[in-house]
């Protein structure tokens, strides 16, 4: 999976669509018996490993699921507090899945809004008049590509730094947006996109883009 995520930001900087297209690489699921030899703590509304790193369970990893059922922040899916649950020997043996905590939707909203503001810095810093905003942001683990339309909507794709063809993927996403979001008469402009056809066609486009990348088909 070389394309990690897609974000669509409206003209006011609000996140109207987000898709994560990757499976986190480092997730570990293990069965434990009482008492737990990891030290857990609450951090940012999540239960994370504070100490006791072992095997592939690292400090900072959050509890993602218990006994196969996804955890909701500091609560299990059926509303019990995770720390309380794990403190009770009656609930053992228990199978816990640890991994890097994913961004919550609120965090994504904030980050998109922040990016929207930063985007303009590109054109302000430029020695030339009429420069575009930030088009690419690179780190050692991913490249962020941004395409802003003439109407002010931004399409953002996070991909593997080696993945090619993102420019044409961005244009394709614009087409998919103009077809399956805008041509849906019940979709209101600037609002979150909740169109099934948009989802489907976007996922298809991502798969096509990944196959034509440097990793080749079948990767």
């Amino acid at each position: 999976m070389a394309i990690f995520s897609v974000y669509v930001v409206n003209k006011a900087g609000g996140l109207i669509y987000q898709l994560d297209h990757y499976a986190p690489r480092s997730e570990t699921e293990k069965t434990f018996s009482f008492p737990l030899d990891l030290v857990l703590k609450l951090h940012d509304e999540r239960v994370v490993v504070a100490f006791g790193q072992r095997d592939s369970i690292r400090v900072g990893h959050a509890i993602l699921s218990i006994n196969g059922v996804d955890v909701n922040g500091k609560y299990t899916a059926d509303g019990k507090e995770v720390l309380e649950y794990l403190g009770n020997p009656a609930n053992y043996p228990v199978s816990i899945r640890f991994g890097r905590p994913r961004l919550s939707s609120n965090e994504k909203l904030m980050l998109a809004s922040m990016f929207h503001s930063l985007f303009a810095i590109g054109s302000q810093l430029s020695p030339e008049l009429g420069s575009s905003g930030i088009e690419m942001l690179e780190t050692d683990t991913f490249k962020l590509h941004c395409f802003q339309t003439l109407t002010g909507i931004k399409f953002v794709v996070l991909a593997d730094p080696r993945q090619a063809g993102i420019e044409s993927l961005l244009r394709k996403i614009y087409e998919i947006y103009s077809d399956f979001a805008l041509k849906n008469p019940f979709y209101s402009l600037e609002m979150p996109i909740r169109c099934e056809l948009f989802d489907q066609n976007l996922k298809l486009a991502l798969e096509v883009a990944e196959k034509t990348g440097p990793f080749g088909p079948g990767s």
Binding site: S131, G133, T151, E175, Y177, S178
Partner: protein
């Protein structure tokens, strides 16, 4: 081919049905014109993205470039016609599109009695106005002349108003 012309027939018929229904719903020509314009606006704000996504045009740097783009690329793409463009020598920022032929009125002979102020194709004005607004250009768009009303030409006037200001940080569009 055949499929395309059937599609066009359906489109022209649909538009005709729309105008006819509005005429039944509203007595005053001004009201029909207003609703056609409003519908056109709702179409224009969406159609502009389809246009930009498919035509991959670069940003226009002047009003005249913009009007040329509308006439030569957009009209061609969606209606298969290319209106000619001219510019007013009296009013600043006023342009005209002269429509030689117009598929929307292919089957319309003349306006019905009592409907002398009806702008049959007023939807086009709304479409242009909505599309321009999405690229931050405010404009007034209306029919200056209309063959259906007995004029010699069918002419749409586009008058650009003061440029819509972006929010403070977005100098780039």
């Amino acid at each position: 081919g055949c499929c395309n012309s059937c599609r066009r027939e359906l489109f022209v018929l649909t538009y005709g049905a729309l105008v006819a229904q509005l005429c039944k719903d509203y007595e005053k020509d001004e009201d029909v014109n207003k609703y056609l314009d409003r519908m056109g606006y709702d179409i224009g704000i969406r159609l502009v993205e389809d246009f930009l996504a498919r035509s991959a045009v670069k940003k226009c740097r002047s009003y005249s470039e913009t009007v040329d783009m509308i006439a030569q690329v957009a009209f061609k793409m969606y209606l298969g016609i290319t209106p000619s463009v001219s510019r007013s020598n009296t009013t600043e920022n006023e342009f005209f599109l002269i429509l030689e032929n117009n598929p929307l009125v292919d089957f319309v002979e003349e306006l019905p009695a009592g409907r002398t102020s009806l702008c049959y194709c007023n939807i086009l004005c709304g479409v242009i106005r909505g599309a321009l607004e999405m690229v931050h250009l405010a404009a007034e768009v209306n029919f200056i002349q209309d063959r259906l009303k007995g004029d010699d030409f069918t002419e749409i006037g586009i008058t650009f108003l003061k440029k819509l200001e972006d929010k403070k940080h977005k100098r780039n569009k």
